[in-house]
């Protein structure tokens, strides 16, 4: 549900209120239900202080909640996690001439997270009620940004942002013996922080710049650099039947993620801009990423920091694209080669992941190809095709069984050393527009589409279960068959 209300108070003042609510759920198997919902409300006031000076003020409130519901008899449960984001933002936009835009502003964000709250959902359920400690934080930032079109062919953008973050109570924080890997057994002390009390702070600069040089109206080069810091971390278990994600706020043990990115792009148009081509390369350097210890327990872990490890990462790639805008056959073909790698190096040999070497992150899908095209068949018939291909994401497969203590166990030695099968899918549609003339008032459109035309069972995940003396592998596919659909649209003037 989406609602928007805008009111022009007078010539220079405008107020807009918007609200948004969404709900989604999905049952992967008969016994687990995943649900998400988002509530968003925002208020914006803008006032033109002079013809070239605009002031805007924003208030935003967002609630995001997700839940996992176990439906198996006797162990029915629901684990819910929420993020609340409240933000106040003020900004001044000064544009004395069309070719110059100067922006200054600031914002403050209050975060409030419940990383996990587990409850039984029926009277007969044996599941215990457990709630993890909520997390609170405040982020304050100020920024200045300037965009100048030095000439019609040369545009420079410079920006600088400073952000300061504070993790706040109410919270109980554990101290660990620094000579040992963090674990429940190496806790030395517990400190209680009162509501609103500062637990940990981080702050730093985030510069950004980009330069676009046009050689003529057909050739251009764009170079950019920016740095970002992120105080929220996505914690994601990709080894189970379905990826389970939740967020964590930076704290004494988890510093903010830092990423520096440089990119260069070349753009060239041919044949009177009918063909657009581009080649772009990027390199990202990540610091203070979050990785997981071997055997880490992610969901509903009250000592999550003891199962997290700091990692560094790098990502690089080249994206090529060609697009045809004119003629009976139009379309776009893009190909990206990119890598995303992480490395964990800690002081303790027992915590090392893959010997401290760089290894593929869960986002590492080197080859990506997308094609979308339309063919005008005449008499308002259009044939559309859409094809996507990407390398399967990295996964950790078993590399052996072994006997220990009269049981057999499955061994997983190297993280992300394997990949699930590649993803590819072809969609085809045929559409008919019943208009005879462009200005026709009553008409309809028909669209017959086949999603996943050749019914490929693209794996969503591959997971393993142990039994007595062995291990079985299962593949979960979502939309694993062709899905035809027919859409009819009726238009009136």
């Amino acid at each position: 549900v989406n609602a928007k209300l805008a009111y022009q108070i007078n010539k220079t003042n405008r107020i807009a209120l918007s609200a948004y609510r969404s709900y989604d759920d999905f049952k992967f198997l008969e016994d687990t239900l995943y649900a998400w919902n988002t509530n968003l409300a925002s208020l914006q006031w803008s006032t033109a202080l002079s013809p070239s000076l605009l002031f805007t003020f924003n208030g935003v409130h967002t609630d995001y909640a997700s839940s996992i519901e176990g439906l198996q008899p006797a162990t029915e449960y629901r684990i819910s996690s929420t993020i609340r984001h409240r933000e106040l933002k003020a900004g001044l936009l000064y544009s004395p001439v069309e070719s110059h835009k100067l922006e200054v502003g600031g914002n403050v964000i209050w975060y409030s997270l419940q990383p996990g709250d587990q409850r039984p959902t029926t009277g007969g359920s044996n599941v215990n009620s457990v709630a993890l400690q909520p997390e609170f934080a405040r982020e304050v930032a100020a920024y200045v940004s300037d965009e100048i079109a030095i000439s019609p062919l040369l545009t420079l953008q410079l920006g600088l942002r400073y952000s300061a973050f504070a993790q706040l109570g109410n919270r109980q924080v554990y101290s660990y013996d620094e000579s040992l890997p963090r674990s429940p057994e190496s806790i030395t002390d517990t400190t209680r922080y009162a509501k609103g009390q500062t637990i940990q702070t981080y702050a730093g600069w985030e510069p950004r710049s980009s330069l676009r040089i046009g050689f003529n109206d057909q050739n251009a080069v764009k170079v950019s650099y920016n740095r970002m810091r992120q105080y929220l971390h996505l914690i994601s278990n990709t080894t189970a039947i379905s990826p389970v994600d939740f967020w964590k706020i930076s704290d004494s043990y988890v510093p903010p993620q830092l990423v520096d990115q440089v990119s260069v792009g070349f753009f060239r148009n041919f044949l009177d801009n009918a063909w657009e081509t581009s080649v772009e390369g990027f390199y990202k350097d990540f610091r203070q990423l979050v990785e997981y210890k071997n055997g880490a327990r992610l969901l509903m872990n009250p000592l999550l920091e003891a199962d997290l490890l700091p990692a560094k990462g790098k990502a690089y790639g080249v994206e090529m694209s060609i697009r045809n805008n004119k003629g009976k056959v139009t379309g776009q073909l893009s190909y990206t080669y990119s890598r995303s790698l992480v490395a964990v190096r800690t002081d303790f040999a027992s915590e090392q992941i893959n010997d401290g070497d760089y290894f593929p992150s869960v986002y590492d899908k080197p080859h990506n190809l997308t094609w979308s095209g339309q063919v005008q068949l005449g008499r308002n018939w259009t044939l559309g095709t859409n094809f996507v291909y990407s390398t399967g994401r990295p996964a950790t497969f078993p590399d052996g069984l072994y006997a220990f203590n009269n049981s057999s166990l499955v061994n997983y030695s190297r993280r992300n050393a394997n990949r699930i099968a590649d993803y590819h899918r072809l969609d085809v549609s045929i559409a008919k527009d019943t208009r005879r003339k462009k200005e026709q008032r009553h008409y309809s459109t028909w669209n017959l589409a086949f999603y996943n035309l050749y019914g490929r069972k693209n794996p969503y995940s591959v997971y393993f279960t142990q039994f007595g003396g062995g291990v079985n592998a299962y593949r979960l596919s979502v939309f694993g068959s062709v899905i035809p659909s027919l859409t009819l649209n009726f238009y009136f003037l």
């Binding site: 327990r297 003396g469 068959s481 238009y491």
Partner: protein, 345 residues
């Protein structure tokens, strides 16, 4: 202004809208086989056993050791006083001490060295043999009037945790319960006397039962569950419970072991991990063997239950379900007829 007045979406086929799970051929990661070490020295009388094997894809826990057991390794245990003893192979992958004067002592540290036939050498970090308090009592609850398959004895123990030290515990337990069969005639008179109409079948605690005294330091450990023995017929159950001291590292190893052993592919599972312990490569300190070489003080308690506490008439009905035709030694594989003499009960 053009307005879209009505949209009708018709899905012709709904199949495939939900997730579908297929069993697939096991995709296998091609890593080199890992050495697996399972060894323990205690303050009880020798011999001490060390099992060596490799990881690999062979089905069945017993056959794993038979087919992947390490032969021709040189295995030694040494203590912090400089004493060293060699272990001899007793069967494939199983090595035992032969020097009966080499006995684990509380307070000493022990370490294992393994030289593999391919030249690789592994050594364990020294493990201190810590004291263990006595088991105060082992007791049980009978659940005889419950669903078939769940009826049996639940065994528990009480012990007192010393307050002056950090302590970590592991309990292992096994028991015997009787399993009925029709037996065979063992006399010539009619009707004949039937023999071998019940045998003792063994049940082991299936995983690692460990505890840290973090939350109960210096207090009683009460009603710690140690074993379940199923009830197949009327008769006593025999149980042996051992309480081991652990070092912190050993406790963490066993916890990791238990978490990995019980992974099911669910979203609540911990991430997969190699269950590495304290045995490292001598050549490459970053390479660890799977498994652990531990040193523990052990106290053991045996208990025989009193059959009179069972509801005779009710429990005898179980015979109808569990009794099989024939000699119990044959129909219940692994079962023993004369346990009292054979195993010293």
């Amino acid at each position: 202004m053009r307005r879209e007045a009505s949209v009708l979406v018709l899905l012709l086929v709904l199949a495939g809208m939900v997730g579908c799970v297929d069993e697939v051929a096991l995709p296998v990661s091609t890593q080199t086989p890992r050495l697996v070490v399972e060894g323990l020295i205690t303050n009880q009388a020798p011999p001490y056993t060390v099992k060596l094997s490799y990881s690999g894809f062979v089905r069945g826990a017993n056959s794993l050791l038979d087919s992947l057991g390490v032969e021709n390794a040189t295995v030694t245990i040494s203590d912090d006083q400089g004493r060293q003893v060699e272990l001899r192979p007793v069967r494939r992958g199983v090595y035992q001490t032969v020097d009966s004067t080499f006995r684990g002592m509380v307070g000493r540290s022990y370490s294992l060295s393994v030289a593999l036939p391919d030249g690789r050498q592994f050594v364990s970090k020294p493990e201190q043999l810590l004291p263990v308090p006595n088991i105060e009592r082992v007791y049980y609850q009978i659940e005889d009037k419950t669903a078939i398959g769940q009826a049996g004895y639940y065994f528990f123990l009480d012990t007192e945790d010393p307050g002056d030290s950090k302590n970590y515990y592991r309990w292992s337990a096994y028991g015997y319960s009787q399993r009925p069969s029709t037996g065979v005639c063992c006399t010539l008179n009619i009707p004949c006397t039937r023999c071998f109409d019940f045998c003792w079948t063994r049940v082991d605690y299936p995983g690692a039962n460990v505890l840290s005294d973090e939350l109960i330091n210096g207090n009683q450990i009460t009603k710690r569950y140690v074993l379940f023995t199923p009830l197949f017929t009327y008769g006593p159950h025999l149980v042996e419970v051992s309480q081991y001291s652990l070092t912190r590292q050993a406790y963490q190893f066993w916890q990791l072991y238990e978490e990995q052993r019980t992974r099911t592919g669910s979203i609540l599972d911990p991430l997969p991990a190699p269950v590495e312990g304290n045995v490292l490569s001598r050549q490459d300190g970053a390479e660890a063997a799977l498994g652990y070489f531990g040193a523990s003080a052990v106290v053991t308690v045996r208990l025989k239950t009193n059959s009179n506490e069972l509801d005779f008439n009710y429990v005898r009905q179980f015979d109808l379900i569990y009794r099989r035709e024939g000699d119990c030694r044959l129909v219940w594989p692994g079962a023993e007829w004369d346990l009292t003499k054979a195993a010293g009960w």
